[in-house]
């Protein structure tokens, strides 16, 4: 019951910061919205500018992208580096009878849910404005897509936990965070779906973890993956998740040796 209590307490803090979270939601909305406007303007009056890239597909892709980004992309790394490591709050967590990973996870979850609710509301308003929005109508595809989304979130969260802990070795890790934001933008499907990218780039993207967080869940919801493809995607996600969990444990073990409770 204690994790639920912790979740509810964080949820209270989230509601207190609703203005800030709304701004964060707008931050995740603007880029997909601009891309959506770009493609819609071009596609207006045409059936399809690129084969298979219709107005309906475009609208669905970018609206789902906004929602997925709000729900699934964790931003815990800055909290870990600034509050826990540089200010020394990590010692508070270490004194508690719960794993650090679990406590941060419970803290992050309400933020994702609240921002996701904003995204669903905005998605609905934009749907009323744009009209054409389609997702798969097959129930097992939707269930599988939800599973892919949950695993995608776990990958994102674990990866950001690792990035956050890097602050123990690098005092100003913003450069590293920015680097990964850029990589994620390119190979995470934020600009165009990977199947519309140059083949060499999409080939690289399929082998990196970033596409497993947002891109695959989004195209799964669109019904663009067969059951076999979803199964392989899920397997790929599990491999990345296991790798990150292992790496996180290794880094945390070394990080605790380095951490000195009054900061670095």
């Amino acid at each position: 019951m204690k994790p639920i209590r912790m979740f509810l307490l964080t949820f209270q803090r989230v509601i207190e910061q609703r203005g800030r979270i709304f701004v964060w939601f707008l931050v995740s909305l603007i880029n997909p919205l601009l891309l959506l406007l770009f493609w819609r303007g071009i596609s207006a009056g045409h059936q399809s500018v690129i084969t298979g890239w219709t107005v309906s597909t475009i609208t669905s892709y970018y609206l789902l992208l906004t929602m997925a980004d709000s729900f699934l992309t964790s931003h815990i790394e800055e909290d870990i580096s600034r509050e826990d490591i540089l200010k020394g709050d990590l010692s508070i967590y270490l004194m508690r009878p719960f794993p650090y990973f679990l406590m941060k996870f419970i803290q992050e979850l309400p933020y994702r849910l609240f921002q996701g609710i904003f995204a669903v509301c905005a998605g609905f308003i934009l749907y009323l404005f744009f009209g054409s929005f389609t997702i798969s109508s097959t129930w097992y595809v939707l269930i599988f897509a939800v599973c892919l989304a949950i695993t995608g979130f776990m990958i994102s969260f674990t990866f950001k936990m690792i990035l956050g802990l890097i602050a123990l070795w690098i005092k100003e890790p913003d450069g590293i965070y920015q680097f990964f934001i850029i990589v994620n933008l390119v190979v995470g499907g934020y600009v165009v779906p990977l199947y519309l990218m140059p083949s060499w780039l999409s080939f690289i993207a399929y082998f990196l973890p970033f596409s497993y967080v947002i891109y695959f869940p989004v195209i799964a919801f669109q019904g663009k993956l067969t059951v076999i493809e979803m199964f392989f995607t899920f397997a790929g996600q599990l491999i990345w998740l296991l790798l990150f969990v292992g790496l996180y444990k290794l880094i945390l073990k070394n990080a605790l040796k380095k951490f000195t409770a009054i900061g670095i």
């Binding site: 203005g19 701004v23 406007l37 303007g41 071009i42 005092k171 100003e172 920015q178 850029i182 390119v186």
Partner: protein, 262 residues
Amino acid sequence: MKRYLRIYLSFIKINFTLLFTYRASFFLTILYTVFWGIIGIFNMYVLTLRISGAYGWSRNELILLAGIYPIFAGTFYLLCASNIGRIPDIVHRGDLDLILTKPIDSQFILSFRFIDFMQVVRICVCLGFVIFFVHAVSFPFTVMSVIVSMLLMIIGMCIIYSVWFGVVTLSVWFTNLSNLRDLLYIFMGSLRYPSNMFLNKTNFFFAFFIFFSLSITIPIRVLLQKANWWEIGVLFVVASGSILLSRIFWKFALRFYTSASS
């Protein structure tokens, strides 16, 4: 005016000294600043990979727009962005008291106190790309069109400055919205697209983006010798109107500033 120039020179010296405080961070910041510059161009390349043009702009013109955007944005970030981005925190912590008691204009010190020299690298790298691209594609530029376009970009920057300053002025009322700066950085992304994209009948609801977009689109249209005189007039009117409005709004907001302890 002379006094303000002297103060600005001191700001330059101080900021240059601060530049090398964290060396590891310095090199990483240079790297990601350059990456941000390149990524905009690359994104436009990917975006236009399967189309020949959009909104009356050819593919090469769209890539040129995406190439000039980091130079334009980089110059703005160099001079103002890091300052304006700090205003919500300054207001939230009550540090504005200190600034208001100083014998110089508060808007001046809040807008130009810090200079982000890292942006010079981004500007140089993207300028290199633009020069290479212009030669490769053979755009019909003239010396006059380049000069006029650069002057108009300075005017366009006034619009961006006013919008940024106007938005962060809201933090006087909404003191905990320190992430407004992140929103503004994202809004800058709209500069990568031609302004008529927001006037398109299907996108008309989002026409507010045009205030950002025309600040760079019109100078580039001048560069490509496609602009009309009325477009330049619009740029002048919008720039002077927005500067004036941001000034009035700041003065108005200060009447509501209550410091951190009140």
